[in-house]
Symmetry: C2
Subunit: 210 residues, 2 copies
DNA sequence: TCGTTTTTCGATCACTTGTTCGATTTATCT
DNA sequence: AGATAAATCGAACAAGTGATCGAAAAACGA
């Protein structure tokens, strides 16, 4: 129990596409839904069982612990998002275009994977040790991705402290959306992305003065 | 138990300044510290007892339930901050100056009451029913305060949807600070406030173009 | 069909949780 | 000092938690 695998109990090991894979996916997305709504620690393993139709013990065939379940969600979601973003960051075009794309992609991913992304955003601290470290690595890569774009727009070095701060301000805007977004009220997410980019690039004054 | 008081079990009722008041304060601030660090649901009432030196049952003289304890923290903290901000919002000067002041005040309050403010920011959902409603009212007033300043800077009506969004972007920047601020690394908070205001007013482009 | 592996179940364990309550101590007032 | 009220304690309870494990069932390959 000291070194063991981080994931495989049986289903997730090997990676072969057995008839098990779609069940794991449903398990992950149902769990993400519950955890996004109530939070990780307030979501019991029994809640997940009820939601998915599994029996209590039966689910432990798919993950080895509750924390492992959380890890699987974060690892899968974050890897997928990161892949999208690192691709976008290496595209041609102006720095401003890249930044616009990064923000737009993040919001689009938020729309299509709200639950999973919320769990990634707010439940890092519920992981420990190796699992924490592995997700933290993905986070840092994501941050670096955005920070580079910000630095380019500013014409500064990515190490400049102001760049770090401004990048974190942008992540604040992006991540805080989970706290208020209402699909009824705030419908067009493209529009929202434009508004955010506009604020980030030109501010409330709209680039009229300094 | 259907209607009962929201707070008073004995200590917090009446409001007279007995020798009990300082103990309540220590109880609240210690609890806020634990809850800020681990989250509300992962902070047990026994943790609070150990931290404060009280016995397990002895603390129930000061609050009537764990949720009540959380409510007391939020009510006290938020009221105090709100008072500061509503005063600042009604001062003379330009709209830009008012917005700058609101952001600066929030950051200053963050510095002096980090734990309590973090609890206010992230644990609203841990309250229910009346307690939730009461804190939600304070939140709406706070939002309104900021939204008015934003609207004035933009020269728009406070009801304009763009105003709502941009205000929420600003709160995102402000509240996300809890996730990354490191007093060693990000020392001067005044500077941080300036950077944020600068981004909010002029954007990354620094007001050079539109 | 039979034997084997994969998958599922249900009971159970050890542990932590918030809360209650009567008894006990401490402070306050006359 | 004695009586009343405020404050504190410690033991106990009921409920819920994550996790384990051997047995049973289902799917599979021969």
């Amino acid at each position: 129990m000291t070194t063991g695998d981080l994931t495989g109990t049986g289903a997730s090991s090997g990676g072969r596409t057995s008839r098990t894979a779609p069940k794991l996916e449903k398990l992950l997305s149902s769990s993400a839904g519950l955890m996004a709504q109530r939070g990780f620690s307030q979501t019991s393993i029994r809640d997940v069982a009820n939601e998915t139709g599994f029996s209590l013990g039966g689910m432990y065939y798919y993950f080895k612990s509750k924390e492992d379940l959380l890890y699987l969600i974060q690892e899968k979601t974050f890897s997928s998002l990161l892949e999208i973003q690192e691709a976008a960051a290496s595209h041609d075009g102006t720095a401003e275009e890249r930044l616009r794309k990064l923000i737009g992609n993040h919001l689009a991913y938020f729309l299509s994977h709200a639950n999973e992304l919320k769990v990634c955003t707010f439940e890092l601290e519920s992981l420990q040790d190796e699992r924490y470290d592995r997700i933290a690595v993905l986070r840092r890569r994501y941050f670096s991705c955005m920070a580079h774009a910000v630095a380019e727009v500013l014409g500064e070095s990515p190490n400049h402290p102001g760049v770090r701060h401004k990048t974190l301000f942008i992540f604040g805007m992006l991540n805080w959306i989970f706290m208020w977004f209402d699909p009824e009220r705030d419908e067009p997410v493209d529009r929202l992305g434009d508004e955010m980019v506009d604020l980030v690039l030109n501010g409330l004054n709209g680039g009229k003065d300094g």
